[in-house]
């Protein structure tokens, strides 16, 4: 068996977003997802890029798009999610809008890839899942290409339950 590859290709993410009907990529850029950002910046048919200054704005823009019948994905990193908790509370929990996030695990040690993030020595990594649990926000880990189907699960859950859903991007996306 070959070595496990943790770098999910950007093309894999884009295919998953396409089959889930995603039409807007609303983002504050994330180091972990630079491969995906690079691809989206170069233009993807049917996917409109919305650049935001911070994550509060990204969540609210996504909410407006959702209310008007569009299907955005909100792309941020773990630090950004921490920064916009009150907006998630208002828009995702109180108003029950199905905001779906891709959240990069910025700062994760390479040795922690594929392991339990709670074993990371870095707060920015190990606090993400406990914070989401405290908020009551469901999440899915994306560790390798075999996990891409979890993107479909997250969108289906968000649509059905009208709740926010978080996909945790565990390691840098590939440029392929």
């Amino acid at each position: 068996m070959g070595e496990r590859n943790f770098n999910i290709p950007a093309s894999g993410y884009l295919e998953a977003l396409r089959r889930n009907g995603v039409d807007h990529f609303v983002t504050v850029p994330d180091w972990v997802q630079l491969g995906l950002h690079d691809r989206v910046e170069r233009g993807v048919e049917g996917l409109s890029l919305v650049r935001c200054c911070n994550e509060d704005q990204a969540v609210c823009v996504s909410a407006g798009l959702r209310i008007a019948g569009k299907k955005p994905v909100t792309v941020v990193q773990n630090q950004g999610l921490y920064a916009c908790i009150n907006t998630i509370r208002a828009v995702g929990l109180d108003a029950s809008l199905p905001i779906v996030f891709l959240v990069g695990q910025f700062g994760r040690e390479f040795s922690n890839f594929g392991q339990d993030p709670s074993l990371s020595s870095r707060n920015t990594v190990k606090l993400l899942e406990p914070v989401l649990n405290a908020l009551g926000v469901k999440f899915w880990r994306l560790e390798d290409e075999n996990d891409l189907g979890r993107i479909d699960e997250a969108f289906a859950y968000a649509d059905k339950e009208s709740r926010p859903a978080v996909l945790i991007v565990g390691s840098p996306t590939g440029w392929n």
């Binding site: 807007h24 609303v26 409109s48 919305v50 650049r51 935001c52 200054c53 911070n54 509060d56 704005q57 990204a58 969540v59 609210c60 823009v61 996504s62 909410a63 407006g64 798009l65 959702r66 209310i67 008007a68 019948g69 569009k70 955005p72 009150n86 907006t87 208002a90 828009v91 109180d94 108003a95 029950s96 809008l97």
Partner: protein, 199 residues
């Protein structure tokens, strides 16, 4: 002018534009019985402009009218450039400037009230048109131009600060509706937009 007078002018000209209001303006539009299409950013200071931007991107042929507060705008000042980056032609952003946080309750001074230029900030951020009105007659005489022109448009409204209510938090419990209405209005607005879809 006071906030209710300003909102009366806006509501009188809004027609089927989507209203996104927050804080004091939200209550003023409630007093005016403003109906769908509308949504309130509550309790969420700073969210109105970005919520409106999402609507403006999704509904490019429909006017989106955001009525923000000065303290709310200050919380998301970078949001001016988020709007400007998309240059939504259908986006009108009013900011009611009363120079106070918890206006009508405690009237705590907003930062930089003596020197900040909101319309100037919006212009520098990249809004296409900016206006500043201090009296109701001037706003009323320009409202069709403001709402009808190509945006993004920013309008600074100088409104008087209502007198404070001493001990307001001791007397006024925040009602459940304050935490429920954004969701209720989001669902109602979604339904309204589907029913009134532009061909």
């Amino acid at each position: 002018m006071n906030l209710l007078q300003a909102c009366t002018v806006i509501e009188g000209a809004r027609k089927d534009a989507v209203l996104v209001a927050t804080m004091g303006a939200m209550f003023a539009f409630d007093a005016l019985k403003a109906a769908q299409p509308r949504i309130s950013s509550v309790p969420l200071m700073g969210g109105a402009a970005s919520l409106g931007l999402g609507l403006a991107i999704a509904e490019p042929t429909r006017r989106i009218v955001v009525v923000d507060g000065d303290a709310s705008l200050l919380m998301q000042l970078g949001g001016l450039t988020t709007v400007a980056d998309r240059q939504p032609a259908n986006f009108v952003h009013f900011v009611a400037r009363n120079g106070a946080q918890f206006a009508g309750a405690a009237n705590l001074a907003t930062p930089a009230e003596t020197c900040v230029d909101y319309a100037g900030l919006a212009a520098a951020a990249g809004y296409r048109r900016t206006y500043r009105f201090e009296d109701e007659a001037a706003l009323a005489s320009h409202i069709d131009e403001v709402l009808g022109g190509i945006g993004p448009t920013f309008v600074e409204l100088r409104v008087v600060t209502p007198p404070p209510i001493p001990g307001a938090p001791l007397k006024m419990e925040i009602p459940d509706l304050q935490f429920q209405r954004m969701g209720m209005e989001a669902r109602a607005l979604s339904a309204w937009l589907k029913e009134h879809a532009h061909g």
